[in-house]
C-alpha cells in the first residue's frame, strides 16, 4: 500500500477562499521562481502573491540598512528572497534559521504603515483601506521583519501581497491537519536535499522499547524494568508507551496504581543516580479514587521504589504555574519589541517587573536542590505536579542536566527532550498554541526550560557540548510546524496521526508542477515511509533538514571539555548517610518528606484518601525529631561540600546578578543589540587555536 506513494502526493484540500489561486498561475510563478530566484517552493506549497523591489529594513549598528528583494506569500510561509540571494539561502527551502522565512503560524501580528495614516494592525476581518508603505511582521519567536515597498508603480502589488499575507495568516495558519498534509512530501524533498547526512544522530527517541532498555542499561539502574503496560495507550493516553517501574512490581500490581493519579499518570522513574537514588515523576493523587488496600500498596511501592526514604517535591510550592509563565512571557515580549516604549533608564526595572528572571531563578534553584538531594542520600525523589505535564517536564530535565554529564552532550540532550517532553506528553500543541486553538492554554514552558539551560551554559561554559546557537535553533524549531516533535500534545496523538496519514496515501493526487525526484531519493523516501508505517513527518533532530553545515557547526561548543566517563559517582565517595542505609526491617515502608523552601519536612499524611495514610509502624524508631533536624541541616549544608565538580554534578548559582537576560533570544527584534553575541567568535578562536597548536607541534622549539 505504501509503495504506491512513490509517485503520489497530495495537495492540501483548501476550501476556496482568496488564498487559493488557480493552479495554472501558481505553476507559472513557481517555474519562474525556480529559474530566476533562489526560492524553491516546497511540495504542497504554492505562491499566493508576490511583490518585487521590496526592501527589507535591517537596523544595524551603522543605522538603517536595507536589502532589496522579492517578497512572496505562499500558503505556508512568507518568504523574502534578496537579490542577489545570499549563498546560504540557496537550496534550503525549509530553512527556519534563515532569517528571511517565516512560517505563517509563527506570525504574531501584522502591522501596515503608511505615512498618511496611523500604523494599522491587520486582521482578516479588517479590510486594508490604504496602500501600505511598510509592512511589519512581529513573529512569535521574537523576530521582527520590516518590509518597505517601492513607491513608484508598485503600489498595487504592495496592496495585494499584504492582503494575501493577512488572509493566509488568518485562514491559512490552519490546523495541524493542514500542515501535516502538506508536510508528507516535504520529508522526501528534504531527504533529497540533505542526502549526504540525513541520518538521525545517535540519540534515543524513546518510541521503541529498545531505547528504554538501552537507556536503563546506561544508567545502571538495577531493580528497574521497562514495563509495556501502556503499550497501547490504554492505561493512560498521555503517557509514553513504555514506563520504567520497579522490577519487583508486576504489571498487574502496577495497573492498580493508575486510577489513583490525575490523568492516570503514575510515578515512574526518569533518572537513576549512580549512588543509588532515583528521580521519579508523577501527577497529583486523584482525590476521589477511593483505593483499596492493595492499590495503596502498589502506589507506595512505586513511590518508594525500594528506598526507605521518599522525598516529594511539590511543583506548585515554589514554582510558577503555566499561567504565570504566560503572563510573564507576554510582558517580556512587549518589553523586547524594538518599539517598546520603556525608557532605557527604566529598562531593568521593567525587566524585573516581568518576573521572567524570577521564574528562571526559581526553576534553577529547585533543580539544584533536587540534584543535591539525589547526590547526597539514597532515596527516591518524586517530582509531583498536578498534571505532570509542564513543570515536571522542565524540572525533570533540568535536574538531569545538572546531574548527568551525558545530558550535556547534544545527543544526550536530545534524548532527554524526547524522554521528558516529547513522549512524556508535554502538551506542545496547547502550550505553543501555534494554531490558535485556545489562548488560555498557551504558555511557553518550553522556552522557560531553554532559558534555564542557557543560564547553566553561561555558568558552565565548558560543560556543554552544544551552544547558545543550538538552543536558539531549538526555540525557532518549536514555532515551525514542519516537524512532528512539537506538533502534538502527546505520543498517542502523534502515533494516531501517523497511522491516519498512512491510510490517506491512497487518495494522493498527482499534480502537474511536481517534478519527480530522482529514483534513489524515491527509494530512500519510500524506505522512510515504509519503515513500519512510522512517522512521516520528520523529527527536528535531523538538523540537516533545515540547517546548513555551517550553521550546524555553530551548534558545537569549542570550549566543551568532554568528560571521559559519565558514570562516575559525582559526589566521589558519596556513601549514603548513616541513617539511610537500607535497613531490611524498614523496607516496604519508610518515611516521606516534603521538599519545600529548601528544607525537608517529615510528612505523616501523604495521601488524600482516608484509608491511605502511610502505614506507620511503631518500630519506625530511626526518625527522632533530633535526627530529623540533623537531616534538615545536612540538606542545607551539603551543597557546599562540593562547590563544583569538574564532572558530574553542576551546582549553579542563582543570586540576583547571576541569572541573566538571554539577549540573543529575546532581543533578536532589535538587531543593534545582537552585536558581539555571535557564537562564531568563539568558533573562530577555536579555529585559531587549532592552527597555533599545529604550528607548535610542527616546531617544538
Amino acid at each position: 500500500m505504501l509503495s504506491g506513494s512513490k509517485n503520489s502526493f497530495d495537495i492540501p484540500q483548501r476550501p476556496g477562499g482568496p488564498a487559493l489561486r488557480g493552479p495554472k498561475s501558481s505553476e507559472v510563478k513557481d517555474k519562474r521562481n525556480r529559474n530566476c530566484l533562489a526560492f524553491t517552493c516546497i511540495p504542497g506549497e504554492h505562491v499566493l502573491e508576490e511583490a518585487a523591489h521590496v526592501k527589507r529594513i535591517v537596523r544595524s549598528r551603522d543605522g538603517e540598512e536595507s536589502m532589496v528583494g522579492t517578497l512572496f506569500c505562499t500558503n505556508l510561509r512568507v518568504v523574502f528572497v534578496p537579490q542577489p540571494a545570499p549563498r546560504d539561502a540557496v537550496g534550503a527551502p525549509g530553512c527556519s534559521a534563515c532569517l528571511h522565512v517565516v512560517a505563517l503560524p509563527c506570525i504574531e501580528r501584522l502591522v501596515a504603515v503608511n505615512s498618511f495614516t496611523k500604523a494599522k494592525v491587520l486582521t482578516a476581518s479588517s479590510t486594508l483601506k490604504f496602500i501600505p508603505e511598510e509592512l511589519i511582521l512581529y513573529c512569535r519567536d521574537f523576530r521582527v521583519l520590516r518590509f518597505r515597498f517601492h513607491d513608484s508603480g508598485w503600489e498595487p502589488r504592495a496592496f495585494q501581497v499584504t492582503q494575501a499575507i493577512v488572509q493566509a495568516q488568518e485562514g491559512g495558519g490552519g490546523s495541524v491537519a493542514m500542515w501535516y498534509g502538506s508536510a508528507t512530501l516535504r520529508n522526501r524533498e528534504n531527504t533529497w536535499l540533505s542526502k549526504e547526512e540525513s541520518a538521525l544522530p545517535p540519540m534515543l527517541l524513546f518510541e521503541e522499547t529498545s531505547d528504554w532498555e538501552k537507556e536503563l542499561r546506561r544508567l545502571g539502574a538495577v531493580g528497574w524494568r521497562v514495563s509495556p503496560a501502556n503499550e497501547r495507550f490504554d492505561m493512560a493516553t498521555s503517557l509514553p508507551k513504555y514506563l520504567w517501574v520497579p522490577s519487583r512490581l508486576l504489571d498487574n500490581e502496577l495497573k492498580r496504581a493508575f486510577a489513583h493519579f490525575n490523568a492516570r499518570r503514575i510515578p515512574r522513574m526518569c533518572w537513576h543516580h549512580p549512588g543509588g537514588s532515583d528521580l521519579l515523576r508523577a501527577a497529583g493523587f486523584h482525590a476521589d479514587s477511593d483505593p483499596e488496600k492493595e492499590d495503596v500498596r502498589s502506589v507506595e511501592a512505586l513511590l518508594f521504589a525500594g528506598h526507605t526514604q521518599c522525598v516529594i517535591v511539590e511543583m506548585a510550592d515554589d514554582l510558577p504555574s503555566p499561567a504565570e509563565i504566560q503572563l510573564s512571557a507576554l510582558k517580556l515580549r512587549a518589553l523586547c519589541l524594538p518599539d517598546s516604549s520603556v525608557a532605557d533608564e527604566k529598562w531593568l526595572s521593567a525587566l524585573e517587573g516581568t518576573h521572567w528572571l524570577d521564574h528562571v531563578r526559581a526553576c534553577v534553584r529547585k533543580a539544584s536542590e533536587v540534584a543535591a538531594l539525589l547526590a547526597e542520600r539514597s532515596c527516591s525523589v518524586v517530582l509531583q505536579e498536578s498534571e505532570d505535564r509542564d513543570l515536571n517536564c522542565l524540572l525533570a530535565s533540568l535536574v538531569q542536566i545538572l546531574s548527568d554529564s551525558h545530558a550535556r552532550t547534544q545527543s544526550g540532550f536530545q534524548s532527554l527532550l524526547q524522554k521528558e517532553w516529547v513522549v512524556a506528553g508535554h502538551p506542545f500543541q496547547q502550550r505553543l498554541n501555534l494554531f490558535r486553538d485556545s489562548d488560555r492554554e498557551e504558555s511557553p514552558v518550553f522556552l522557560l526550560f531553554l532559558d534555564c539551560t542557557w543560564q547553566l551554559l553561561q555558568q558552565f561554559p565548558a560543560s556543554f557540548e552544544f551552544t547558545e546557537t543550538y538552543l536558539v535553533a531549538l526555540h525557532d524549531s518549536s514555532y515551525v510546524p514542519f516537524f512532528s516533535t512539537f506538533l502534538f500534545n502527546c505520543q498517542w496523538e502523534r502515533d494516531r496521526r501517523n497511522q491516519h496519514r498512512a491510510s490517506n496515501q491512497l487518495y494522493a493526487l498527482v499534480n502537474g508542477w511536481w517534478e519527480p525526484p530522482p529514483l534513489e531519493i524515491l527509494s530512500k523516501g519510500g524506505c522512510l515511509v515504509k519503515k513500519g508505517g512510522g512517522p512521516c513527518l520528520p523529527h527536528i533532530w535531523d538538523w540537516a533538514l533545515c540547517y546548513t553545515t555551517q550553521q550546524r557547526a555553530q551548534f558545537r561548543n569549542p570550549a566543551y571539555a568532554r568528560h571521559c566517563s559519565s558514570t562516575v559517582v559525582p559526589n566521589g565517595s558519596s556513601a549514603p548517610l548513616g541513617g539511610d542505609k537500607p535497613d531490611p526491617a524498614l523496607s516496604g515502608s519508610g518515611s516521606v518528606y516534603l521538599l519545600a523552601k529548601g528544607s525537608l519536612l517529615l510528612q505523616t499524611h501523604l495521601f488524600p484518601w482516608e484509608n491511605g495514610s502511610l502505614s506507620r509502624k511503631p518500630w519506625r524508631r530511626t526518625q527522632s525529631s533530633e535526627s530529623l533536624g540533623e537531616q534538615e541541616r545536612s540538606l542545607r549544608c551539603k551543597p557546599s561540600s562540593c562547590p563544583l565538580q569538574p564532572e558530574g554534578l553542576l551546582r549553579p548559582a542563582f543570586v540576583g546578578p547571576l541569572i541573566q537576560f538571554w539577549r540573543r533570544c529575546y532581543l533578536r527584534g532589535s538587531q543593534e543589540v545582537q552585536h558581539g553575541l555571535l557564537a562564531s567568535t568563539r568558533a573562530e578562536i577555536a579555529e585559531e587555536l587549532d592552527l597555533l597548536r599545529q604550528r607548535l607541534a610542527a616546531d617544538p622549539e
Partner: protein, 626 residues
C-alpha cells in the same frame, strides 16, 4: 562603532564594578609575582553562612568564567575551592568557630604565630602584630587568626584551615576605619570596621583590654592615611627592583610620531616645558603650527586653569582631530578673546575635509549656564560662527560619586535578588555609563564619518573630558586596544593631562568625606569593560587586566596614579618603580597564561596545577609568533 542603547549594556552580570563586588578579592594578579596584594583565600565554609558562601563561590567562578576567555585565576580558584573538608562542614554548628578552636590557637603558641607572619615586600616593615583577632567574614562567619599591619598592608592569616585563610588588603584601599561595638562574641568585645574604596567592608573583632590590640586601630589609621599623619606613601619606600623602567612605557614624542606628528598643520611645542603656560598640562603639547607663542598665552588666559585646546588624536587619513581643553572664561559679561576665536578657527582649518568644527561640551546645558554666571561659560555662536556647540549632558563628579555609593549599598554585603534589577536602575550607574559611551560614540562618529574636527571640554577638562577623549580614541584607534596602547592611553589622556588622581581617589588621606573624591577613573574603566563585552575580539586585554589596574589605582604600591599632574610628580622625588612596568610584565604573563588556558580548555583540562605558580617558565608567547 559603539551604539549605546539601553539593553545593549551588560545588565545580567552587572557592570564591571558590580561584577567586582560579587567576587571575593581573588588572587587578582597572581601572575605578576608571588607577592601580589589582596589575596583572600576562601576555604571550606561552615554553618549558617554556607548557602551564602556557596553562592559566592559559584558567583566568583562563574563571573570570571563568563568573560569571553577564561583566565588563569579561575583555575586557581578551582584549586582552592575544590578541596573541601567535608568533616569540617558537618562539625561546624552555626558558622562560628567554637571557643575550643581559639584555645587551640593559643596552645599552638609561637609556632603558629610564626606561620601566620606576613610576607613582606622589599622596603616594607611590620608595624604591629596582634594574635587572636577575629575576622568577621560576611560570607563565612568569624575566623580567628593573626593580624599584621605593615606600612603597606594589613595581613590576616589563619593556618588552621586548609587551605590557609589569608586576607591581604593594601592600606591604600582603605577609605575609613571605625570602631564598632561588637555584641559579646565571647571575649571579643571591641571591633573595627574598615570601609574600602573597592566596594568591600572588612570587620575585625578583638579583646579590648589588651594593649597590643589598641595599637591595631591606631596603627591602621596612621598607616592607612600617611599623608594626614605627615608620613610618605609606601611607594616611596618600596625597594623592589624591576628589569624595566615603567616610567618609559609612555614616551610622548614616540606617541605623537606614531600619530604622524608633527605635520604641516600641527607642531610639537615645548612652550609648557616649565609648566608655566599651564601647570596641570604635560611639558609636551601639540598645537597648530601657525599659532604664535604669545597668542597661546592669551588663549591660556581665556581658558580655565590655562588649559588651552591641544591635540589629543589625529585621524591618519582625514586629518580630523580631537582637541581637548577647559571651558572658556566667558563670564556673565560675554567676554570674548580674539586669539581664542582665531585659535579654534585654525584648528578647523587644519582639517581640509570639513568647514565646520564641533565643540562637545560634556556638561549639562544648565550647568554650563550656571558656570557662565560666574566666570566660566561656553563658546557662543556669535563669537565662533563656524563652530557647532553640542552639550552631552553628562553629570558632574558628585552625581557619579553618589551613584557609586548607592551601587555599593545594593551589592554589599547582600543582594536583594527579587529587586536586583530595579535597584540597579535606581543607582543610575548604568545610565551614566550609557551617557558617557553615547557621548564618546558621537565624538568618534563625527571624526570617522563626518571627517570633522572636534573640541572636547567640560569645566576644567580633566574629568569628563579625559573620559570622553580616551573612550573616543579607544573606539577610533586599534592601537589603544592593545595592552601597550592602553597603557599609553591612560598615561597620556589621564596622567599627563592632569586627571587629579590624588584628589579623586584621596591617596593616603583620612578625609573620606572629601567632596573632591569621585570614581571618575573607575567609571571610565567600566565603559571600557562594556566595550570589551560588546567587541570581545577587538581587545588584546581582558577584564582581569582592567581589575588589576583598578587594584593598583588604590594600592599606592606604585607611583603611577599618585599625583594630580605631571609637574607635581616631577617635583617630588622620582618614584623609582611604578605600576606600568609591572603591568607590562603582568599583562604579558597574563596573556601567555590565557593562551594556555584556552588551549587547555579545548584540550580538556587536566593536570595543570603548577601552571599558575610559574607561568613564566611554561609559556611561549603563542600569539605573538603568528
Amino acid at each position: 562603532m559603539e551604539r549605546a542603547v539601553g539593553p545593549g549594556l551588560e545588565v545580567g552580570g552587572g557592570g564591571g564594578a558590580l561584577r567586582r563586588s560579587v567576587r571575593p578579592p581573588g588572587p587578582g594578579g597572581a601572575a605578576a609575582g608571588s607577592r601580589q596584594p589582596s589575596v583572600e583565600t576562601l576555604d571550606s565554609p561552615t554553618g549558617s553562612h554556607v548557602e551564602w558562601c556557596k553562592q559566592l563561590i559559584a558567583a566568583t567562578i562563574s563571573s570570571q568564567i563568563s568573560g569571553s576567555v577564561p583566565s588563569e585565576s579561575i583555575s586557581r580558584d578551582y584549586k582552592v575551592y575544590k578541596r573541601p573538608d567535608v568533616r569540617e562542614v558537618q562539625d561546624g554548628h552555626n558558622g562560628y568557630h567554637s571557643e575550643g578552636e581559639a584555645d587551640q590557637a593559643l596552645r599552638g603558641g609561637n609556632k603558629l604565630a610564626q606561620m601566620e607572619e606576613a610576607p613582606l615586600f622589599p622596603g616594607e616593615s611590620v608595624k604591629v602584630i596582634a594574635k587572636d583577632v577575629m575576622y568577621i567574614c560576611p560570607f563565612m562567619g568569624a575566623v580567628s587568626g593573626t593580624l599584621t599591619v605593615t606600612d603597606f598592608k594589613m595581613y590576616f592569616k589563619n593556618v588552621e584551615r586548609d587551605p590557609h585563610f589569608v586576607l591581604d588588603v593594601p592600606l591604600g584601599v582603605i577609605s575609613r576605619v571605625e570602631k564598632i561595638g561588637v555584641q559579646s562574641h565571647g571575649d571579643n568585645s571591641c571591633g573595627i570596621e574598615i570601609v574600602c574604596k573597592d566596594m568591600r567592608n572588612v570587620r575585625f573583632a578583638y579583646k579590648q583590654e589588651e594593649q597590643s590590640r589598641l595599637e591595631i586601630f591606631e596603627n591602621l589609621v596612621t598607616q592607612a592615611f600617611p599623608l594626614s599623619n605627615g608620613l610618605p606613601l609606601f611607594a616611596f619606600s618600596y625597594k623592589e627592583k624591576f628589569p624595566v623602567n615603567g616610567w618609559k612605557v609612555y614616551d610622548p614624542m614616540a606617541e605623537y610620531k606614531r600619530q604622524g606628528l608633527p605635520n604641516e598643520s600641527w607642531k610639537i611645542s615645548k612652550i609648557n616645558s616649565t609648566y608655566e603656560l599651564c601647570d596641570t598640562y604635560p611639558a609636551v603639547l601639540v598645537v597648530p603650527t601657525s599659532v604664535k607663542d604669545e597668542d597661546l598665552s592669551k588663549v591660556a588666559a581665556f581658558r580655565a586653569k590655562g588649559r588651552i585646546p591641544v591635540l589629543s588624536w589625529i585621524h591618519p587619513e582625514s586629518q580630523a582631530t580631537i582637541t581637548r581643553c577647559s571651558q572658556p572664561l566667558v563670564g556673565p559679561n560675554d567676554k570674548r578673546c580674539k586669539e581664542d576665536e582665531k585659535y579654534l578657527q585654525t584648528i578647523m582649518d587644519a582639517n581640509a575635509q570639513s568647514h565646520k568644527l564641533i565643540i562637545f561640551d560634556a556638561r549639562q546645558n544648565s550647568a554650563a549656564v550656571t558656570n557662565k554666571e560666574k566666570v566660566g561659560g561656553y563658546e557662543s555662536e556669535s563669537a565662533y560662527p563656524n563652530a557647532e556647540l553640542i552639550f552631552l549632558e553628562i553629570h558632574n563628579i558628585h552625581v557619579i560619586r553618589e551613584s557609586l555609593r548607592k551601587l555599593k549599598e545594593i551589592v554589599y554585603p547582600a543582594i536583594d535578588e527579587a529587586r536586583w534589577l530595579s535597584n540597579v536602575d535606581s543607582t543610575h550607574w548604568l545610565e551614566y555609563i550609557r551617557m558617557l559611551l553615547a557621548g564618546a560614540v558621537r565624538i568618534a562618529d563625527r571624526i570617522e564619518s563626518g571627517k570633522t574636527s572636534v573640541v572636547v571640554h567640560c569645566s576644567d577638562g580633566w574629568d569628563r573630558t579625559a573620559q570622553l577623549t580616551s573612550l573616543a580614541m579607544l573606539m577610533l584607534d586599534s592601537y589603544y586596544r592593545t595592552i601597550k596602547g592602553f597603557e599609553v592611553l591612560i598615561e597620556k589622556e589621564w596622567i599627563s593631562f592632569g586627571h587629579r588622581f590624588a584628589m579623586r581617589v584621596g591617596h593616603g588621606d583620612g578625609d573620606h568625606a572629601d567632596a573632591d573624591r569621585s570614581p571618575i577613573f573607575l567609571q571610565f574603566l567600566d565603559c571600557v569593560w562594556q566595550m570589551t563585552k560588546q567587541f570581545p575580539a577587538a581587545f588584546e586585554f581582558n577584564e582581569l587586566f582592567l581589575i588589576t589596574i583598578l587594584d593598583h589605582l588604590y594600592s599606592c604600591l606604585f607611583g603611577t596614579f599618585l599625583n594630580n599632574c605631571e609637574q607635581e610628580r616631577l617635583k617630588e622625588i622620582p618614584i623609582h618603580q611604578n605600576l606600568k612596568e609591572l603591568l607590562a610584565i603582568k599583562a604579558e604573563l597574563q596573556r601567555k597564561v590565557e593562551e594556555l588556558q584556552r588551549e587547555a580548555a579545548t584540550r580538556s583540562i587536566s593536570s595543570s596545577s603548577d601552571r599558575g605558580s610559574s607561568p613564566s617558565h611554561s609559556a611561549t608567547p603563542v600569539r605573538t609568533s603568528v
